[in-house]
Amino acid sequence: MRFYRLLLRLYPAAFRVQYEEELAKVFALRSRNASPPFARLLLWLESIADTLPSALAAHWDLLRQDLRYCARLFARSPGFAITAILVAALGVGATTAAYSVTDHVLLRPLPFPEANRLVKLWEDMSPGNYTTMEPSPANYSDWKRLSHSFSGMAAFRGLSVSMTGVGDPEQVEGNAFTSDLLPMLGARPLLGRIFSQADDQPGAPGTVILSYAMWQGRFGADPNILTRKIELDGEPYTVIGVMPGEFQFPRPAVQIWTAMRFKPEDFEDRNNNYLRVIAKLRPGVSREQARAEMGIVSEELRREYPKDNEHVGVTVNPLRDELSGRSRIMLFALLGASFCVLIISCTNLANLLLSRALLRQRELALRAALGAGRERLVRQMLTESLAIALLGGVVGIGLAEAAVPLLKKLVPSSLPIASVASIDGRVLLVSFALVVLTGLCFGLIPALRASGELAPAGLGERSGVSLSSSGERLRSGLIVGEIALSLVLVLSCGLLLRALWKLEQVDPGFRSEHVLTMRTALTQPRYEKVAVRTAFYDSVLARIRQTPGVDSAAFTSFLPIVMQGGIWPVAIAGQNSELDRAFHEASLRFVTPDFFRTLNIPLRSGRTLRESDGPKSQYVAVVSESFARQYWPKQDPLGRHFAFAFADRTVVGIVGNVRVRGLERESEPQVYLPYRQVGDGDLIWYAPKDLAIRSSLKIEQLLPRVRHIIAEADPQQPISDIQTLDEIVAEDWAPRRTQLIALGTFALIAILLTAIGIHGLLAFAVGSRTREIGVRMAVGAQPGQILGLVMGQSLLLALIGIALGLALSVAAARSVAGLLAGISPTDPATYTIAAFTAFAMACAGSFLPAIRALRVDPIRAIRAE
């Protein structure tokens, strides 16, 4: 019997109240008639089979009833319903959008089977601050041979090749893979096949796999794509496969893949660092164990090759975690901010529902008097708030869907994931949980409170006068919380805005206005010889300079910010030796003479480079001030010598520092060398290829002309990466800007919601104190006093909220200190402005209720009693 009573608890309480005794009696009668154990068992089974569906149906009946009631209520006061749904939508939308991006970048497993076992291996040259140096092929092959922690190890490297044989020549970004890489990633081709070991032998015929985007775009989804021939840097390749659209390794920008085809001589130089190495841990082997084993392996190689491997260890990183700390903090900050918005919108909803519950007190009291149980009323109100939360959730997910693509700048382009986060099942699940939680939280408090205050006396009271002091305290507490959280958001935004302003004032070292840039990646081996390159540069530059409106033009190895590496060791007689090369490095650029004029890099002393600095004349260099200060402090650097890029160079000029590594990072000192002072076939990677043109012409006028000039100099020469120098600089802080806009939006939502919350609280208070206000006016209170009465309350709440918010802000600001570009996390000016903003928001929220209080007509207010 006890068990049956327990079973009956599955029915809704409203049903139980009526029929529990009856059901129990029927059960008792039947069990009295069923004496054999078998019959009793049957009765039990029958009862369970009966109760489960009946209870469910009874719940469903109630739910339908409640929903109908809800719909009627919403239709009667659509303003309330719409406000509540929108408030919920903003909270859920902000959190879903922020969580989608964070999940996409930081949490979701990479799209490869057993992705958590994939690691990247780097040469660890800790003495020189490089813990992630690209391995040389020789070290890679030794690691592979000597280690046992991995079920596979594969290598890849970046390619930038000119593709011909399909329309105009085009510079495409590609990768060369060893043949074991794709199987290790579990990747299958959409069409054709992946590389076989035979494709990966030295001298094997060229094979290429296309990305889905490349196949769709450049090849018009040609169904006969397999076995088609194309040329990459003038060499023939056969298309053997097309990868599916989801395959984006190592980055979304990569369009084609070729086989690595190591040649025996590739393994000769252990300092030829250009590979990326990925490995898969054997099942059961931890990263720590692999790290320990690789330590032993590098020790062995150190003994075997003391000269080259003296400082070379091995870094083992999870594939997922190769992400700058800054992107991580940015995403977490955004997530934190979105949670603030969610909490504020929940509190706001709780407040909305609470004041509504108070207004509906009479109705609820009436229903209670008519026999509706307390549980029934709580249930009804919970259904109402859950309905609001669900509708809000659906709208919110829609908002998030629209917002996520706007956040794509926060997705680092260096990960093998899509550049736009998708709202997938995981995210939906979390959002849905948020919605339900929100509904329960902001539904339960008002429901319980309202039903707890259900005294039959409610019927006799005048509407809106009974505001229990504990109810007001709860609501005031919620408002204080909202003010505090929105202050945190405003303040974080303020600090990040100041950081951005500060960065915008950072001098990049060059003037970016009116400079058009592009890359003309010179096809090798065609341009291996310096004389051939010189002919190309001379003919292109001469004709561009003749174009009216062009001020100057130059080629450089790499433009600043676009390419932040390109570092070479510096050796200075008597100052350092080859062994600690890692400590002395500078960014190396070969440039044509007009480079400094084109980028407007100021000359500090000596001279810039000249056309006469040719292969036969003295090898010279122009260095940055930072270079001069590092090596010849308090001495005249002009005329000094240093060994750099395979030759002895003489300093002939000092120029201003350039922020090669972007505006937020320290850059190595810079060295500029004349484009002709390099051996044939040497340092090909550094051969000038980035063209910069300073002109007063519009891009639309200039670009066709430049294209024409380059095509005339070399019809096979592709042009890529066309952008202005301004765009390059802007791109450098695009993630920051995006984050700030997102945070700013969150802060704005928070302020609005909080102001609405304050307004709601005060409007309610004024409404319920109309009579008191009337009496006070009748006995001669001045408008100022009435104003004080109303505003006093909200200003007190604002002050408490601001105090709490400032304390929270310090903690929040400390956690994003890495993003503040040197602005103090306790910057007094920002705190003052943020506090003032919160205060102004509180005043704005109380403005309308205060006006209403002043308009109270004492006669009518008193007579109404």
Partner: protein, 116 residues
């Protein structure tokens, strides 16, 4: 009074409960037994089905709870008895008429029992 036809066709449990209450007021368990007897054991209402039907029928005004105890010997203070309302009677009649109409149509199509 609402139109009885709006509730048709009745769920079979509802119709049987109406039939069982036609001659006398009964409590829940008696309804179950009566329906079983009337259908020769073919229809056994489960307790859950019965009380959910009763709840809905009360809301719809087909039946009402009664204060009188028609069976003083078996009377149990706490037991609830149900009685057919006038509206319930009309609904039962309307449903019966609907069935009769159906049977007539079925006969015309040659489905009636006893005929080929």
């Amino acid at each position: 009074m609402p139109d009885p036809h709006e509730l048709l066709p009745l769920p079979s449990a509802t119709f049987h409960i109406l039939l069982s209450l036609a001659d006398q007021d009964r409590h829940g368990y008696a309804i179950i037994q009566d329906v079983a007897a009337r259908t020769a054991g073919k229809l056994r209402l489960s307790a859950g089905t019965l009380y959910r039907s009763i709840q809905r029928m009360l809301e719809q005004g087909l039946i009402e709870e009664t204060e009188e105890r028609p069976d003083p010997e078996l009377d149990d203070e706490r037991r609830r008895y149900y009685r057919l309302t006038r509206f319930g009677e009309r609904v039962a009649r309307a449903e019966t008429a609907r069935f009769a109409e159906l049977v007539k149509m079925a006969r015309a199509s040659g489905f009636a029992p006893g005929k080929a």
